[in-house]
Amino acid sequence: MNGVPPEHALMLACGLFLLGMIGLVVRRNIVFMLMSVEIMLNATGLAFVAAGAQWGQPDGQIMVMLILAMAATEVAVGLALVLLLNRKFKTLDVDSASTMRG
């Protein structure tokens, strides 16, 4: 069926991934970094869906399920760490947590 050409989907996924990566590197607030990581994960999911549609296989969508599950766990652990970080350093600025340096 005619739909979205796979290249477009992949480009969207790529763009989303890059935006997420840039966000990860640029933002100092750890919550926003986590959000950027989510965007990256979802971008990969989109890429998988597009690939699955391309080849007509359900594997792509199964991967998305996997990614969703993994993202959820990761956010759970990550937010717990954010709480502890906040308690220790009294801030959400990730650059303040740099005592392990050489």
Partner: protein, 629 residues
């Protein structure tokens, strides 16, 4: 009988061992008996051996006693072997006899010194080494004796070790002679590699067979051996150590630096004369060195104030005469002068020692004065010795030996008028400085008072040596005066006589000239130092003469030159490089590594975002590389 040869060097060695290990525990008397007695026994033994040798000479006039094979490898098998022929017999007799007299003298001279046993131990070791040197049948064993006497010289010059100046003088002596020894060693290598042996007899046979006259190898070998001889005998340009060696006790100066060790070079050249005659250029050099040295040292002796330094320069000068004789081919004349010189120079040193001791270790002659009345016996024997040194005609041994050299420097095949002129001027200067010494020390007003005269143990050697300083010369009288040739006949199997070219000159005329020269020197000394003692002072105020005098005083500036040229640069180089420039290279490597470490550890910032950025960058690059390459 001759089988007892090995005992001659071993007796002093045994005494050394006993004294070195247990000397402190022995009484002074025992030490003296051991020290002097062992050398005395060696002397008696040597006399007996000599009598036996002369009565029934062994075949070929040469007796060899092999004790054991020292090394045996790769075709190189020197033995510890002693050889006795006329030349070594002569040396052994002089060394043991004069050595014994000096040991006897030392018993009293060193009586107050607490390190008496150490002194006699070293002296005995010296005698042992010197005997090995002259008795060695091969050059390696000779080298052992050669270095051994160098060691003992170092130990004895620096005997009073508390004064660093003595240590400096001792080190100077050892190092300068070692420079000569380096040349000697290279000469040994050359001889072995080309002739296949270091046995003296074989070298003397093989060298003429393998090397043409004047060939490069012969010249090289002879020149290198000459280098060794120069160092040990204190000739130009390695003479700088001898005057400073006077820092040692006087018996040491008498034994080592007058009668024996310094003549080792003369012995070496005489022993290997065949090699030198294969290299006429080198032999000529020997004569020239001898002539130059005798002049330079003579002038230096003229200006010294320390009586022992006068005698030291005098020794350098007289050995110059011996080298001169060797260089013109008059080998037995050289040995004859060695023979007489041993007696009168030892006598002079011992006499000087008596004066020094009596005046509480004062060395400056000009603080002596008038000792003639205070120490008559010393004066008389010293006078005899001085007369011999100055070659006073007819009655002294020195006259006959020095005169022979002066004649040979003109008439021998290697001789020429320049050498003769130098020898003559040297004789003139010798008389002047010798009698300067006599007049200043023994005449005039006494400046100090002699504490007490020397005892029998010091006077007996003086008397004996004085006797020989007169009589020893009668063994070899020139053609014009009786033509006695005991000495040269004795040595002729080892040292061929120099062929005199008749018609070269009138021997009698030359002898008269020589005699006149020596007597006029005495006259000048008399005038300057007895009659008008103020004149030398005023002379030295004249600018030219004053400067010249100062130049002579410092030994013609050789010390200064070597100091600037060699000693200071070496010192500086060693000090500057103390931390080792090569280590700096490795230190630099370590430093650079540290730099990298500091650089890379800056990437560990602890900042999460930078790590993430790093991961991202790395991933992009890797993927790009994979895709595009």
């Amino acid at each position: 009988m001759l089988d007892l040869l090995w005992l001659v060097p071993t007796l002093p060695l045994a005494s050394y061992l006993v004294l070195a290990v247990g000397g402190k525990r022995l009484s002074r008397a025992t030490v003296s008996w051991l020290g002097a007695g062992s050398v005395g026994l060696s002397a008696c033994l040597a006399l007996a051996l000599g009598a036996g040798f002369l009565a029934s000479p062994p075949p070929d006039h040469r007796f060899v006693q092999v004790l054991w094979i020292w090394m045996n490898t790769g075709g190189f098998n020197p033995a510890i072997a002693l050889q006795l022929d006329e030349l070594s017999l002569l040396m052994v007799l002089v060394v043991t006899f004069v050595g014994f007299l000096i040991h006897l003298y030392s018993v009293e001279f060193m009586a107050d010194d607490e390190a008496c046993s150490r002194f006699f131990a070293y002296m005995n070791l010296f005698v042992c080494s010197m005997l090995i040197l002259v008795l060695a049948d091969n050059l390696l064993l000779l080298y052992l004796g050669w270095e051994g006497v160098g060691l003992c010289s170092y130990l004895l010059i620096g005997f009073w070790y508390k004064d660093p100046e003595n240590g400096r003088a001792a080190r100077k002596a050892f190092i300068v002679t070692r420079i000569g020894d380096t040349a000697f060693a290279i000469g040994l290598f050359l001889l072995f590699v080309h002739l296949g042996t270091l046995t003296i007899r074989d070298i003397l046979e093989l060298a003429p067979a393998h090397w043409a006259q004047g060939s490069g190898m012969a010249v090289a070998a002879a020149a290198l051996l000459l280098g060794g001889a120069i160092g040990k005998s204190g000739q130009l340009p390695l003479q700088v150590w001898l005057p400073d060696a006077m820092a040692g006790p006087t018996p040491v100066s008498a034994l080592i630096h007058a009668a024996t060790m310094v003549t080792a070079g003369v012995y070496l050249i005489a022993r290997l004369h065949v090699l030198f005659s294969l290299a006429p250029a080198v032999q000529n050099a020997v004569a020239v060195i001898g002539a130059l040295t005798l002049l330079l040292a003579g002038f230096s002796a003229l200006t010294q104030r320390n009586i022992k330094r006068v005698l030291a320069y005098s020794t350098i000068s007289q050995i110059g005469y011996m080298f001169l004789a060797l260089g013109v081919g008059a080998y037995s004349a050289a040995m004859f002068h060695f023979f007489t010189h041993a007696f009168f120079k030892a006598l002079l040193f011992l006499g000087a020692g008596a004066v020094i001791m009596a005046l509480h270790h004062e060395h400056d002659m000009f603080k002596f004065g008038g000792m003639r009345k205070e120490m008559p016996l010393v004066y008389r024997t010293f006078l005899i010795g001085s007369a011999s040194l100055a070659a006073v005609p007819f009655v002294t041994a020195g006259f006959y030996s020095k005169d022979l050299i002066i004649w040979e420097s003109w008439s021998a095949p290697g001789g020429n008028p320049w050498l003769w002129g130098a020898a003559l001027v040297g004789a003139f200067i010798t008389s002047i400085y010798t009698f300067r010494m006599v007049f200043v020390t023994f005449f005039g007003e006494p400046h100090g008072h002699a504490a007490h005269g020397p005892g029998i143990r010091m006077t007996l050697p003086l008397v004996v040596l004085a006797f020989f300083s007169i009589v020893a010369g009668f063994l070899e009288l020139p053609h014009t005066m009786g033509n006695v040739t005991f000495f040269s006949d004795f040595l002729h199997t080892v040292l061929p006589a120099a062929e005199a070219e008749n018609g070269r000159g009138n021997e009698l005329l030359f002898q008269v000239i020589a005699a006149a020269v020596s007597l006029s020197g005495i006259l000048i000394a008399y005038l300057l130092y007895y009659r008008r003692p103020a004149v030398p002072e005023r002379l030295s105020e004249i600018p030219v003469i004053g400067t010249l005098g100062r130049l002579w005083f410092i030994g013609w500036g050789f010390d200064w030159l070597y100091d600037r040229l060699l000693v200071r640069p070496y010192d500086w180089l060693a000090r500057v490089n103390r931390r080792d420039v090569v280590d700096a290279v490795y230190g630099a490597i370590a430093y650079i590594t540290l730099g990298f470490y500091l650089l890379f550890s800056r990437t560990q910032t602890g900042k999460l975002r930078q790590y993430a950025a790093g991961i991202a960058l790395g991933a992009i690059i890797t993927i790009a590389v994979v895709i595009f390459l």
